[in-house]
Symmetry: C2
DNA sequence: AAATAAATTTAGACAAATCTAAAAATATTT
DNA sequence: AAATATTTTTAGATTTGTCTAAATTTATTT
């Protein structure tokens, strides 16, 4: 079964929305896709005939097993291309997403297999998100947001939630990158901000808003 | 000005057809694109409003200066991706074309600039075809088909016209690849076949049909 | 110079993905 | 349990790229 780029983008969006919520609505998906709810309904009917979603009118929808597999294969492509752009072509992580959004629709499976090997079978993309293997298997790691790291503990930065240029600018300023080890000195109850210490750099304070977007392994 | 993948495929086809003929017809282009002449007429009207072709109904068409530049930028992308697939991912030259046919439509110019540098600014693709530089400039080399190589002269294989798996199979059998040096021992007038000698391999005879598809530098 | 053939264009239709506006179903308030 | 609000779906258009069939223009024969 082949899918258009548009169908693939819908499938991926449904998958991502299903991760955080236990049911996805037509309105929510239309917001995510920047389309109108009426267009979503049309697409759901189409994806139902292709057995990608379970869908009954007015009763909601969800990915089928095949839909889930398809979503993971698109995400695999997306993240492998992001890794390529970052590791081989030297792009920053705030630049890779839009290019990967196009590259993920290149059809050849053999290309992806070889790209994966060429890159050394990376487990995580430049944002720290896991890259599904060729069977769609994702290596899950235990992560906590920086706001949850206990005082006096050392943690390793493992991924970022907000992947905007503005976030990258802040992280660069704080000398924080994926893999950076940091110690959480103290937590200020008033505003939820935290003081962290990295290596040779002086300790600095990070707002709760930023800390919430940084994931760590302990 | 942005273009759809379909428009880009038409632009590229017009460019390639114009190389060998001095005027391209609606029927010829429709054959090249595997569409009907009526569809070509529709597309020509569209490309005219975008100032990509000069076109007057019933009077023929040709690429404008902007159309030519656009064609060269698509061909540059196509051939750089082919080079990537061949040199970095180890694909054979009969496998790269269909993937490059999709990859050439990835929009980012910065991606292509960096890919070009990553690959070491190659001048020729895996088929020996020249890769236009970022300004659309093509390095032209003097080539002759193997049928035109003088007797007793040594030549270097520089490109292949027919790029099918069947052709690759034959070339592999003859130990011929791009860059291979060969001496033309003799030419048989009866059927136009030629006897060639490569290094340590015994001399062999190549049919005119094959020889016509092999280009060499002298 | 007609007649005929070939190439090209127009007219009208269709599938994909979108939209707006209206209708229908479901959920929430009173 | 009505009334009202929200969500979702349908109906009917629009755009892009394609098609078939018919009309028009240009080219080639007789
Ligand atoms: Mn995409
Ligand atoms: Mn990512
Ligand atoms: Mn193409
Ligand atoms: Mn090529």
């Amino acid at each position: 079964m082949t899918h258009t780029s548009t169908e693939e983008n819908y499938i991926k969006a449904i998958y991502h929305l299903q991760l955080s919520r236990d049911s996805v609505s037509t309105n929510l998906l239309s917001a995510e896709m920047n389309t109108k709810p009426a267009s979503v309904t049309d697409m759901l009917k189409k994806l139902r005939t292709k057995r990608i979603v379970h869908y009954q009118r007015y009763k909601g929808f969800s990915l089928t097993e095949a839909g889930n597999r398809k979503a993971l294969s698109i995400i695999r492509k997306h993240r492998l291309w992001e890794y390529f752009l970052s590791s081989k072509l030297g792009f920053e992580w705030d630049e890779v997403h839009s290019m990967a959004e196009e590259l993920e629709h290149i059809s050849s499976d053999e290309l992806i297999t070889r790209l994966d090997n060429f890159l050394g079978n990376p487990a995580f993309d430049p944002h720290g998100d896991p890259i599904p293997d060729h069977r769609g298997k994702i290596r899950v790691i235990k992560q906590v947001s920086l706001t949850e790291v206990p005082v006096k503990k050392t943690a390793t930065v493992s991924s970022v939630k907000n992947q905007s240029p503005e976030m990258l600018e802040l992280l660069n300023h704080f000398h924080i990158a994926l893999g950076t080890k940091l110690k959480l000195n103290r937590r200020f109850e008033f505003d939820g901000s935290v003081e962290i210490k990295i290596d040779k750099y002086p300790a600095t304070i990070i707002s709760e808003q930023v800390a919430l977007n940084i994931n760590c392994t302990l």
